[in-house]
Amino acid sequence: MTPRAPGHGISGLFRRPWWRVGWRNLGRNRRRTLFTASGLAIGYCTVVVMSGLGRGMVAEMVGNGTGILSGQLQIHGLEYLPERSVYETLGGKEGTDVAALVDRVAGDPSIAAAAARVYGGGLVSSGDATVAASLIGIDPRREPEVSSILGTVYEGTQLTEGSNQLLIGREMAIRLDVGPGDEVVLVAPAADGSLGNDLFRVSGMFSTGLTELDGAVALLPVDALQELIALPVERIHEIAARVADPWAAPDAAERANSWLISDLVEAKATAWTELQPEMVFYAGLFESMEWILLVIIFAMAVFGVANTMLTGTFERRREFALLLALGAGPGLILRSVLAEAIALGVVSLGAGALITAPLMFWWHEAPPDMSWLYGGYTMAGGLVRPVLRVEYPPEMLWMAAVALFVTAVLAAIYPALRSAHTPPADTLAGR
């Protein structure tokens, strides 16, 4: 019976003798194949998981750094940054139609919500205790959709519009020795040069875990702060917006700036990437570390696989010699060893995917709480909670797969070349 000639294409490729030899050779020493494939699979899993952990840390830093208070996009008067002068309001000294501008900002498809804010600096005093505070006027209705700080109120109630109430951080409450319902005095330099002062009642306390917020920020209704610092209602300092995907914020800012210019509004939209460049730096650092990790792990693997392949091909040198003596060309030997390496890559990738997928899914859905081991910490101004958060790294999934195949093939090149140049007569003679 005449053997069928191999066809064309992938199916034909798999029917080629050198491919079939390479593939079947994996089963010749299954234990060795298992160990080698396990090494590559674990390397793949390590790269993907470590990359996911790094991205989880970056997501945590960016999410909290922009989400707790600042928002992913801010709109200010042209001269407001970086001095943050109380006089530099949106729309200049005349101010603006705040509600209309907020709605316009929130109309961008990538912006989930927007809210107006007013900033002031002042003193919060109770009894003999006085602390310097950054006073932030917020819209109690809209703010919860923009930032998460109101969600951290652990005692008392939320703010009510038009009332002399304020929310203070846990540390400020301790320093002032006040709680919900207690009266405090607020003193702040007003925009007309006078010294604004009034009595406020503590409605509640928040706890973000960030010292600079919990110890030095007081939130009050935007209209109450405007009255305290003698700013009319149409004068605000900022519109803060939440962009669901933080990395889409620069594009959203660009779109906002186009219509702000065309509508002749004296304002500028700025994304968090410009306001907090240190976070972008850290994110870039983590990204470059992913590549370093990828190179290190697979560089280590390539020597392990090469050693195994060398051993395997050395054991088969009589087989190669016989094939060569019977008229097979060195190319067939070379291809069959490389085919074995590729087949090993396929098996390793399958195994790697099988262990990586459920691990990543579980870790992503239920990140382990590590608060028993360490507390939250700040990185580039963003709070990182004590949880091992993992984010899916889509491009690293296939980049690591490519690296795995490259590793397998690189590791096989030298053994394949040696095998292809086996001296038939000497080898068969046992010399």
């Binding site: 943050r84 109380v86 505070a133 950054s134 040069g193 006078s194």
Partner: protein, 274 residues
């Protein structure tokens, strides 16, 4: 808010007023004064440090009471205030705003190193935290620190005479003050111009560590008040804001009053009828 996080309001949290650099508001609450008629300048034989110390002590005064008009000009607003001041040595001072009506009764008490403000609108007294000593006082270009500073200049600075001669027809001394190695001061250099004839200060220029001029205090309109020669106009001008200034004009002044330390109390601070 970024860590290293920026605070709003000129970068200073809760500043009673805008941030400024400190020197001596004692010029406000304790007026430079000399008995008239003037005696010949016997102090001309003294060294630079002794002369500056003499001027410095003159600037501190003894007990005094006065009526002062303060005019503050900033880029964004201009306002005038009238206030009553009391002082006793270097430790005690009380300032009560009489006008404008919106702030009438608002008072500041200096007792030692502490500053208290009384807010009549809410009938509360608050203590200014030490972290805000560098903040401006009542929107002016003076700082809270100017109120409490009580070290003598020669304790913190070495003094050299930089010029001795006639300028604009007046014989003057120009002193160069540089901080002593162990002194905790904000100014890296102070240049002080004093009239030889009566030891009246003319101006003082304050420089930072890069030798940039930060602000200038000018004394002028020397008149006899309460039986003493005093500069009745004190102007402070920040160097980085050439269109801004705070001018303090003395309207009335009395010296050597029968004031007791007990007068400078929180009870007096809260009293509205003084």
């Amino acid at each position: 808010m970024r860590a290293g996080r920026e605070f709003p309001q000129g970068g200073r949290p809760g500043g009673l007023l805008r941030t400024a650099r400190g020197a001596r508001l004692l010029v406000l609450v304790a007026v430079p004064q000399l008995d008239v008629p003037q005696t010949p300048p016997v102090y001309a034989q003294e060294g630079p440090a002794e002369i500056v110390d003499r001027v410095d002590r003159l600037l501190r005064g003894e007990s005094s009471r006065g009526l002062v008009a303060m005019r503050i000009v900033t880029e964004h607003w201009t306002r005038s205030m009238e206030m009553r001041i009391w002082s006793l040595g270097t430790d005690h001072a009380l300032i009560r705003i009489l006008s404008p009506q919106k702030e009438a009764g608002l008072s500041t008490l200096k007792a030692g190193n502490e500053i208290w403000n009384y807010l009549p609108r809410v009938d509360r007294t608050i203590k200014v935290p030490t972290s805000l000593m560098g903040a401006a006082w009542m929107g002016s270009h003076f700082t809270n620190d100017d109120l409490v500073k009580e070290h003598q200049l020669i304790e913190d600075y070495d003094v050299e005479i930089a010029f001795d001669g006639v300028r604009n027809g007046v014989e003057v001394w120009e002193f160069d003050l540089t901080p002593k190695a162990e002194a905790a001061v904000i100014w890296d250099r102070i240049v002080y111009l004093v009239r030889v004839a009566d030891l009246m200060p003319v101006w003082a220029r304050f420089y930072d560590e890069r030798d940039d001029l930060i602000r200038t205090i000018t004394w002028s309109e020397y008149r006899t008040m309460g039986g003493r020669l005093v500069p009745t106009l004190v102007t402070i001008e920040p160097a980085d804001k050439p269109n801004e200034r705070t001018a303090v004009q003395y309207v009335e002044l009395e010296f050597d009053l029968d004031l007791e330390p007990a007068f400078f109390s929180l009870r007096t601070l809260r009293s509205r009828d003084r």
